[in-house]
């Protein structure tokens, strides 16, 4: 089957991100397709490159990046939400005259059409929200 995910929880809701990442890994291991994960609202903060997770634990961001690297999953942060939350690629950083891009490697910014496209082609659409502050 083909899966599409929508992630709304901020990265501080580590349990929600772990649950979503675990599901993605299980789905891919089982041979399902999972071409794209779409992050919206506070979920886009997981793509903020300047956030430094505490201690030695890998952060949700690093887990998502590993998933993208190993399985080619496209990680799209909703552009509207992302800029409100301070997540800028180099184009947006230039447009809003900020000194540097803050979008973490492995993520791209994109419009809501990419969410629509993902769920329209999917057999399963799943939302991950809640948690935090």
């Amino acid at each position: 089957m083909r899966y599409a995910l929508l992630v709304l929880a901020p990265p501080q809701a580590t349990a929600v991100h772990r649950a979503a990442i675990g599901l993605c890994e299980a789905a891919l291991d089982a041979g399902h397709a999972l071409p794209r994960v779409f992050f919206s609202d506070a979920g886009t903060q997981v793509a903020l490159d300047t956030a430094v997770p505490p201690g030695d634990e890998p952060s949700p961001r690093e887990h998502w990046q590993a998933l993208a690297r190993q399985h080619g999953v496209e990680l799209v942060a909703c552009i509207g939400s992302a800029v409100r939350h301070g997540v800028l690629d180099s184009d947006e950083a230039a447009r809003f005259e900020r000194p540097a891009a803050t979008l973490a490697e492995g993520f791209v910014l994109g419009g809501l059409g990419l969410l629509v496209e993902a769920t329209a082609a999917a057999d399963r659409a799943l939302t991950f929200g809640g948690g935090a502050p």
């Binding site: 709304l8 506070a42 909703c78 939400s81 409100r84 809501l112 059409g113 769920t119 659409a125 929200g129």
Partner: protein, 118 residues
């Protein structure tokens, strides 16, 4: 193409999730997907009349909801129990909104291939 029900759960101005959900609903409609919207729990407050959130730095979500028919989005529903809890009457809602009891909400859900929650 899949029929999609977007379930709204949040009060309008606590954060930005309510707005994100409405933007998503309008996007589904704009891309000509069969789209329905259910306002459940605190999200029925997004339907309240006369919202004037300029002094808290926001734009009226009710005004955005009122524009839904312009996107051919009129399959819009509200949770009867939540309306009662918050003291909202059917007359307060946009005319195109249908009020549903819990059983009818479940039937609505079961008529759609996908659900997204906000």
């Amino acid at each position: 193409m899949k029929s999609t029900l977007l379930v709204m759960n949040r009060a309008p101005y606590a954060g930005t999730l309510a707005r994100a959900g409405l933007d998503a609903a309008l996007a589904y409609a704009a891309f000509d997907q069969p789209t329905s919207v259910l306002f459940a729990g605190p999200a029925v407050l997004q339907l309240a009349p006369a919202q004037e959130p300029a002094a808290i730095g926001r734009k009226s979500l009710r005004r955005l909801i009122d524009s839904m028919p312009l996107y051919d989005l009129e399959a819009v529903y509200a949770d009867a129990g939540a309306l009662a809890r918050y003291g909202l009457a059917a007359a307060d809602l946009p005319a195109f909104v249908t009020v549903l009891d819990p059983a009818a909400q479940r039937e609505l859900q079961d008529r759609h291939e996908h659900l997204l929650s906000f």
